[in-house]
């Protein structure tokens, strides 16, 4: 007889529920760590209290009744104060959820409270997933699902034991009143809090059947697979609405990528090696040899850095409504360029979107409001994104040259007519200019307070020979000059002294970082009368061979210069930082092979993250259609290959049949045919009976005995045959066959007649019956 497995009693099920509830609470609460929501106090309390109360449930029982009475009002008051103080609804709601979660984890729970716990935990997990769009969400939601389903299973089994009644009274505060514990259910679970976790897990191991556990794991895998199928198959249609929760949360921004950059800000970003941007490019050969991702243009020197002037800030125009697709007119030059760049921009970096240069079309997955600056070729989100932003860029220039016809016209006017430099734009029409320069030009302002510093700059410009041969040439000479005086270093030590720090650095021979080189070049160019501006963003990136994408990290943050070249009527990228190419080369693309290659586990994880963004986060109606088309093409190709193979086989067979038939060939075919027929006959006559007998002898269960199963089938067949009238002449054969089949089916093996003979007899009986009926 099979050994019976033990079963969990009611107390053990109760302990399991308690453990799973604590686990769910802890797992879900910890997801908030990813969110940068200021909830460290609540999280700290949960991290300490929930494990302690979970491991020692007696503490929960010992909580005074007044604690339960006051818990909810206190939490509500705290939430109201939180809203009033912070004015941020979503973080306050998350903190409220965490407080409720904490209370549910440490207070005694019944079925209803367990459900509340699951719902609270689900809210936290989903909201965190929505805001972080992190690949960790997959692990979180799967862990949560597994734990929640286990908890619900334990709840159902407990209810099965208690006859569907509540495990504990509805109100936890009343739970400990002695008169309520008189119920048989309460008696059955009394003492559950005296738990020995080692014993419980030992019992669980004893109770678990390996096959059932494997089946459970298989079913869970099936759930995951089904979820994937449903995710891919759920019909997608566009409802032009945005994700309103975005507005309920704010995120801090990096100062290096904000409107005001002081020296060292960009260097500080470089200390961070986390991923800032992932780029999927449709044609990897279009990747430039030295990619630059522009984010922000700063024109006004502040004395300790650069900032965006009000004039430039005014050039950012907002789109009237939120749209999926934002197009530009006359920005890009590579209209025939079919390369598509999909950027996955991480949260917490900046609200300015990294772009290679001018572009023709910018597409978002969700309707998105956007501020675009036509003269700067930049795009900016209205607020700092709280989650990863994915956007597709088409027709993007990556050669470091930005044409600006308006600025060229403006420049021509100002150069040809000195009066234009001093007249306000609204009065330009009085002087005969139909289209006056509309912008407040600051690209030539030095912003230096001390005349000595200006004089020093002019002296250096004179040393460099001025800018008579154009901005590009001057940039090359000035950058070379800077590089000859300074080496590159992330740390800069400049002694305290009077005067502008940038000029003092230029005067010294101290090493410097990219912001100083870029700032120095801007000042030299402006002093020489060449418009220049400072740009921050990212330079370079690494090729991830796992995902086939570019990974740009915060450590790739960089600052460089853009200098106006009158001959080209364009802004030229000029990078004075040592080790960089000062101005762009004519053949800028070298493909992904020019990039550094990532390897190791981080590359694999980043690859997985790109897959997550590419296939999951960015999955939309187009992707669904693409998937459908791909599946259809693959199925069609497979059917075609099968059809081709079958046709080939048939053709070969036809050729074989058509070929001349000689005696050896006929003999060979006849031998094969007779051999086959003989084998079938032998199998039916001897082999099958032997095989069945062998399996029957090895079978240890009546239920799986093939002889008994076969006898059962024949008995059923006889029964069906006998439903209609049975002629007299066939009755005896049927009776005899049935009697022998019954012996096979229920009798001891030792008393069995030969099974094969019995089955033949049954077959003959059925045939005899059919013949007898036919005769009538």
């Amino acid at each position: 007889m099979e050994t019976l497995r033990p079963q969990l009693n009611l107390s053990e099920l109760r302990q399991l529920r308690w453990f799973l509830g604590g686990l769910i609470g802890l797992l879900s609460a910890w997801t908030v760590f990813y969110m940068e929501v200021d909830a460290l106090v609540v999280l700290g309390v949960i991290t300490v209290a929930v494990p302690v109360f979970t491991l020692f449930p007696r503490l929960s029982i010992a909580l005074p009744q007044v604690f339960h009475l006051l818990a909810f009002p206190v939490i509500v008051v705290l939430f109201a104060l939180d809203i009033w103080a912070t004015r941020e609804p979503l973080p306050a709601m998350i903190r409220l959820d965490l407080m409720l979660l904490c209370y549910r984890c440490i207070a005694p729970r019944g079925r209803r409270e367990d459900l509340q716990l699951i719902l609270l935990a689900l809210f936290v997990v989903v909201v965190t997933g929505v805001f972080t769009v992190s690949i960790a969400f997959v692990a979180q939601i799967l862990l949560f699902t597994g734990a929640a389903l286990s908890l619900l299973l334990a709840v159902t089994l407990s209810d099965g034991r208690t006859g569907g009644g509540p495990i504990s009274p509805a109100k936890p505060a009343r739970r400990f009143l002695p008169q309520l514990s008189a119920a048989p259910v309460a008696a059955a679970e009394a003492g559950w809090e005296r738990v020995s976790w080692f014993e419980l897990f030992g019992r669980l191991r004893a109770v678990a059947d390996l096959r059932v556990v494997a089946l459970g794991a298989g079913l869970f895998g099936g759930v995951v697979a089904l979820s994937v199928v449903l995710f891919l198959a759920l019909p997608r249609f566009e409802i032009s609405n945005d994700f309103f929760l975005d507005r309920l949360i704010t995120k801090s921004t990096r100062t290096g990528f904000s409107d005001n950059v002081t020296f060292q800000d960009v260097v500080n970003i470089q200390q961070d090696t986390s991923v800032a941007l992932m780029i999927d490019v449709s044609d990897p050969d279009m990747i430039p040899a030295e990619p630059y991702w522009r984010m922000l243009v700063l024109d006004e020197y502040s004395g300790n850095g650069f900032r965006v002037s009000q004039g430039l800030r005014n050039t950012f125009l907002s789109s009237r409504e939120k749209m999926h697709v934002h197009t530009t007119r006359g920005w890009g030059r590579n209209r025939e360029d079919r390369a598509t760049w999909v950027m996955y921009f991480q949260p917490g970096v900046s609200k300015y979107l990294p772009l290679g240069g001018a572009f023709t079309r910018l597409t978002f997955g969700e309707p998105q409001a956007l501020l675009q600056s036509t003269p700067l070729r930049l795009a900016q989100l209205p607020v700092e994104p709280a989650k990863m932003v994915a956007y597709r860029v088409e027709g993007m220039d990556t050669d470091g040259v930005l044409r600006d016809r308006d600025f060229a016209r403006d420049r021509r006017i100002r150069v040809s007519d000195p009066r234009a430099s001093f007249m306000p734009p609204e009065r330009m029409a009085d002087f005969g200019y139909e289209e006056p320069p509309a912008r407040d030009v600051t690209f030539l302002e030095l912003g230096l307070e001390r005349p000595e510093d200006v004089a020093q700059l002019e002296k250096w410009v004179e040393e460099l020979g001025g800018a008579g041969d154009g901005g590009a040439e001057f940039a090359r000479r000035a950058a070379t000059w800077l590089q000859s005086r300074h080496s590159y270093s992330l740390s800069m030590r400049l002694e305290e002294a009077e005067g502008d720090p940038l000029i003092r650095w230029m005067k010294s021979s101290q090493p410097g970082h990219c912001e100083l080189f870029a700032g120095g070049l801007v000042m030299l160019a402006r002093a020489a009368g060449v418009p220049a501006r400072l740009v921050t963003g990212f330079k370079g990136g690494a090729w991830n061979p796992v995902s086939g994408s570019i990974t740009v990290r915060n450590s790739d943050a960089h600052a460089w210069t853009e200098i106006w070249d009158d001959d080209m009527a364009s802004w030229l990228r000029a990078d004075a930082t040592p080790g960089s190419q000062i101005t762009p080369t004519p053949s800028p693309t070298s493909g992904f092979r020019g990039l550094e290659f990532e390897s190791g586990w981080s590359a694999r994880f980043d690859g997985l993250r790109v897959f997550w963004y590419r296939r999951i986060v960015n999955f939309d109606q187009d992707s669904q259609l693409e998937l459908l088309r791909g599946t259809k093409d693959r199925v069609r190709a497979m059917l075609q290959s099968v059809r081709t193979a079958v046709e080939e086989k048939l053709r070969a067979f036809a050729n074989w049949v058509r070929s001349p038939w000689d005696v050896p060939r006929v003999a060979a075919v006849a031998t094969v045919l007779f051999g086959g027929v003989g084998l079938v006959w032998f199998w039916k006559r001897v082999g099958r009976a032997w095989w069945m007998g062998w399996r029957s002898r090895r079978s240890d269960s009546h239920r799986r005995d093939p002889v008994r199963i076969e006898a059962s089938r024949w008995l059923a067949r006889l029964e069906r045959a006998e439903r209609a009238h049975v002629p007299v002449e066939a009755r005896e054969a049927m009776r005899a066959a049935r009697a022998r089949l019954l012996r096979l089916r229920f009798g001891a093996r030792e008393g069995w007649p030969p099974p094969a003979a019995v089955f033949r007899q049954a077959k003959h009986a059925v045939r005899e019956l059919a013949r007898a009926r036919a005769r009538r």
């Binding site: 769009v133 089946l215 995710f231 409802i239 986060v617």
Partner: protein
């Protein structure tokens, strides 16, 4: 009360065995349930199965529980948010929730698959006494256990939901017992009204209607009565001789097979040696002067129904007691001729008839003054007649005197 059924191994049956092939058990109904149905339904096609999944068979109901409604509401909310925002994280969550709902259905189906049950309610019962109704459960699955079933049992007006509190392992069976009490005599319908389950996650309340029922006969209730006549009439007096009934007299009645518990002194060694099996002597009962018990059903006599019920209870109790004392010679109902009582079966037949006896109107007859109207009172001697006594009581009259009352 929490039922703790006993798990016993399943009787050996081939996998394709039909439930009708099993020998019938007295007091048990035939097997019912998904396993039994699948055994009966020979043709098993995928289309049938799929159709059954879409349109459950008659009596099968799936109703979402509060948890299920909550899950559906959460799914709807997340689905609305997902479509409104095109956010794929929400689509993933929605997919997972829907998958959980589907998993719940699949596991629920697996849980019920291979389950068969039958009802044991052996009669007859006694009104007012607790009897055990047993439900035999069988899990014919090879791999999977079954959890969390409940059974809605009913006996007359009484109904109760009994839970399978334990895990029913594969290829095993168990019994769920329900102590039921019949309120009144007559035919009592013991039935299994439905089987349900919340397994696995409590999202869906799955129930299968059942028409499994068994009618049991309920004998009149046993009543406390008081004997009269100073004990003289009741005293046992030897009769003419032995009676043809097993007992403790001196005359040999028959030989029978030895059963455990028989005294070795009763072994008939010669017969045992001759037939090569142990045989014991069975003696005839001593003949005592007995009684004939008579019950009438004239509604004119039994004007109060509760008095009639009490009278039947007294009759049944007296019949049992007298039979135990081996002093019940015959029984009579109304005008019928007396039926002699020799075996236990005779008493049981009498009680069976009492269980179904109804007070009916009969043609009036002239009876001696002072004695209530009876029919067919001629014939046997020492007749104990059950008649109303007073406003609420009943009595057994012997020769016009009260012999017992209740």
């Amino acid at each position: 009360m929490i039922t703790q059924p006993i798990t016993t191994p399943v009787p050996a049956l081939p996998a394709t065995a039909s439930v009708q092939d099993e020998p019938s058990v007295p007091g048990a109904t035939e097997w019912q349930g998904p396993w039994a149905a699948s055994r009966r339904r020979r043709e098993r096609r995928w289309s049938t199965l799929l159709w059954a999944l879409l349109y459950p068979p008659r009596g099968h109901r799936i109703i979402p529980t509060i948890t299920g409604v909550l899950l559906i509401a959460v799914s709807l909310g997340i689905g609305t948010a997902a479509y409104n925002t095109a956010n794929n994280i929400l689509f993933i969550t929605l997919s997972l929730l829907l998958s959980c709902l589907i998993l719940s259905g699949v596991m629920s189906w697996l849980n019920l698959r291979g389950i068969a049950w039958r009802l044991h309610a052996a009669g007859p019962w006694r009104a007012g006494q607790t009897q055990t109704v047993a439900l035999e459960l069988r899990n014919a699955k090879v791999l999977l256990p079954t959890y969390g079933l409940w059974f809605d049992l009913a006996a007359g007006d009484a109904a109760e939901r009994r839970h399978l509190g334990i895990r029913l392992d594969p290829e095993s069976s168990t019994r769920i017992e329900w102590p039921a009490k019949a309120a009144r005599r007559g035919l009592l319908r013991v039935e299994l009204r439905g089987v349900g389950s919340l397994f696995p996650f409590g999202f869906l309340h799955k129930s299968v209607a059942s028409d499994l029922a068994r009618e049991v006969l309920v004998w009149p209730a046993s009543v406390d009565y008081r004997r009269h006549l100073g004990g003289a009439a009741w005293r046992a007096a030897p009769s003419q001789g032995e009676v043809n009934r097993p007992g403790h007299g001196a005359d040999l009645l028959a030989l029978r097979r030895y059963v455990p518990g028989d005294s070795p002194r009763l072994v008939h060694w010669k017969a045992t040696a001759r037939l090569r099996q142990i045989l014991v002597r069975q003696f005839a009962a001593e003949g005592l002067e007995g009684f004939t018990l008579q019950v009438g059903s004239d509604s004119a006599v039994w004007s109060r129904p509760e008095q009639f019920e009490l009278g039947l209870g007294l009759a049944a109790t007296l019949a049992e007691d007298l039979f135990k004392q081996e002093r019940l010679q015959a029984v009579m109902i109304d005008d019928e001729p007396p039926q002699s009582v020799r075996r236990l079966r005779d008493v049981e037949s009498f009680l069976d008839r009492l269980a179904l006896l109804e007070a009916v109107e009969r043609p009036a007859r002239v009876v001696p003054e002072g004695i209530p109207q009876l029919h067919g009172l001629v014939g046997p001697r020492r007749v104990l007649r059950i008649l109303p006594h007073g406003a609420r009581g009943v009595a057994a009259f012997l020769d016009g005197n009260i012999a017992a009352s209740a």
